[in-house]
């Protein structure tokens, strides 16, 4: 059973509390959302890399040469 840890700083006592059904549902929903975000970010990164490679090819320069133009 998943649980959460609570550290009471006034006493130093740590307790482990089982998640409620509602908290477990929230956890599952957050996990799905995080996975969707991660996959979306991967797609964006991949598209960006492809576009970058295509532009460099079009310009006929390397990534290192392109970096020189930025600074």
């Amino acid at each position: 059973m998943p649980h959460k840890v609570i550290v009471d700083c006034s006493t130093g006592i740590t307790t482990e509390v089982e998640l409620t059904a509602e908290e477990i549902a929230d956890q599952v929903a957050a996990q799905k959302a995080a996975e969707a975000d991660r996959k979306a970010a991967e797609v964006v990164a991949k598209d960006r890399a492809v576009a970058k490679a295509a532009l460099l090819d079009k310009l006929g320069i390397t990534a290192e040469e392109a970096a020189l133009l930025l600074f």
Binding site: V5, V7, T11, Q27, A30, Q31
Partner: protein, 168 residues
Amino acid sequence: MATYTLISSNVLSSSAASVTFSSITATFTDLVLRCSTRTDAAATQSAIKIFFNNSSPDTSATFMEGDGASVTSGFPSAPVLVFRASAATGTSNTFGNAEIYIPSYTNTTAVKPFSSFGVQENNTTTAYIDVVAGLNNTTSAISRIDIDGNGNNFVTGSSFYLYGISNA
């Protein structure tokens, strides 16, 4: 001179969805939270979120993130991504680490800024570094901090240390 005092800490002996520091004493000037984390997410890394006083909608932030190939920035929705932990398919036995600085946490006349610097360890070409400028948009003194696995569980060995700073 600033003095660090350990308020409380926890090193997980079993997995946990979140870690909460509650009843934080108001006797210090600033707070520093240091975390070393790994989660059970089926990925190389996973986002970790933090909120204050048990109210996630009150936290906002801007972030800048690098992954070894590109840099991005953004303004995530609450509760905000604050740093990234190493996760299940990343390099074995590695942990991400982060430091969150919360100045003037007892101030009841102004909202509370915080900053975070975190890195996710992964011995490949892709690993994340995150810099965050955040805001707890209330005038309540901070007496509770939740570090949330965002749907995933922190694994055994993840550690959390909360320090108070005097005369910062």
